[in-house]
Amino acid sequence: MKRHLISAADLSRDDAVLILDTAEELARLADRPIKKLPTLRGRTVVNLFFEDSTRTRISFEAAAKRLSADVINFSAKGSSVSKGESLKDTALTLEAMGADAVVIRHHASGAPHRLATSGWINGAVVNAGDGTHEHPTQALLDAFTIRRHLSPDGSGAGQDLAGRRITIVGDVLHSRVARSNVHLLSTLGAEVTLVAPPTLVPFGVESWPCEVSYDLDAVVGKTDAVMMLRVQRERMNAAFFPTEREYARRYGLDGDRMARMPEHAIVMHPGPMNRGMEITAEVADSDRCTAVEQVANGVSTRMAVLYLLLGGNESAVAAARTEESK
């Protein structure tokens, strides 16, 4: 993480722990009467969304506003993009408006990287999900949620996730959330297992820092957190599994499977959930499901990312290192 957050793989363990610790402090703001800090006053954050999203955009918007930044929301629908404007021309427009940070979601994998490295804009670029590539802030908020739940003191400040077993289940092929989580969680020392039908396991998964299994029942008994992925029908243009019922039976999480998980283990879902598909209503509504909490944690985590990228005269993470070396 230099000035941009493009990929969870760019984060070192110390960077990631710093972000989580910062998020932990910022989360306490939620208990205050005035949930706002003056830190980014006068800075402009542009939410550049080429793809539909409710929770991620709202989450980034809330995070930027709580830090007193000015927020400009830009969605491709109803903008010049629908008239055929290129990413470059859009970027130049944002630069002319003085954007200090651009939070970008794009249907093409690599668009945030292009934006960050092309020299079109000077501001920080934060990847809010690009194609089937990465969604680093989702991985950070997931790691934050896991750390909070699994640490004895309820925050886990300063700690990583060493030795934790995390299982990611479902449509890994189309999931940028899975990709970012595999990188981040393994950087934090967790053992990650992917569980999916063979057709939904991406090509080249052997090089990822994780195990792969095709059998959910074999894994579920010895895991600290199960992360259910949404079956992304909108990205599926081929038949990846015979029927939805069969998928739900083999790879869905129902009450029986949840009962076989260790007592402390949590169920996570990045949302939006397909109830009855990858997760039953019984599980989704149980105390062990952290889906709603993940949304709340998303705001704190994104505040931490924006603060560390924009709060100083240069990106934060390098700062922590210089402080250690002095």
């Binding site: 610790d21 910062t22 402090e25 003056p38 100083g312 922590a320």
Partner: protein, 193 residues
């Protein structure tokens, strides 16, 4: 911490001095507040928090009300006016006592009073948390060179310094020993204090 700090720096206060100074400040607080019934101590991280806890213990001794002096911490990082001059820093803990600060006498506690900018930031932070009856400031060392119209209500030691000098407070909780060191800039890591 840098190895030459202790060699090049001169000690101005040692552990017994610090203990005496805190006892005196505690008595002054009780005297001025006519008891310490509505006092809330808020330390500014890192070392102000330890000083606030020590002061709370003394206040409880003096007033004979063990465990009755609320003490917390107030991180001012997000309110600093020099954030853009340096890389973003890690945050410290803000812990406000359960009963809050509305209508209470808040005593801010810090180790060194220098430019006054930290206290300015602390006052802004307090405004977002509640509305105290009054705010006072207790510091272990006042080294002068104020850049804002701010003064301390309780001062452990007035230490006239030049801008080339650095003041470093060490406390057992953080540094393994109690002392206040006066050094020269360049020989100690710049602490800004």
């Amino acid at each position: 911490m840098d190895a030459h700090t202790s060699d090049a720096a001169r000690s101005v206060l040692e552990a017994p001095d610090i203990a005496r100074v805190l006892t005196r400040i505690a008595h002054e607080i009780v005297e001025r507040a006519k008891g310490a019934d509505d006092v809330v101590l808020l330390g500014i991280p890192t070392r102000g928090v330890f000083l606030a806890r020590r002061l709370a213990a003394r206040l409880e001794e003096i007033t004979g009300k063990p465990g009755r002096i609320p003490v917390g911490s107030l991180d001012i990082t997000m309110y600093r006016d020099d954030l853009r001059l340096r890389p973003a820093r890690a945050l410290a803990r803000t812990e406000i006592p359960d009963d809050g600060i509305d209508g209470r006498l808040v005593v801010l506690v810090d180790d060194v009073l220098f430019s006054g900018r930290t206290i300015r930031a602390a006052l802004d932070a307090l405004g977002d948390i509640g509305r105290p009856r009054a705010v006072q400031l207790a510091v272990l060392v006042d080294r002068g060179h104020r850049e804002l119209p701010i003064r301390a209500d309780y001062v452990g030691k007035n230490l006239p310094t030049s801008l080339r000098e650095t003041v470093k407070v060490q406390l057992t909780e953080e540094d393994g020993r109690d002392s206040v060191l006066l050094g020269l800039r360049g020989t100690t890591p710049a602490d800004g204090k």
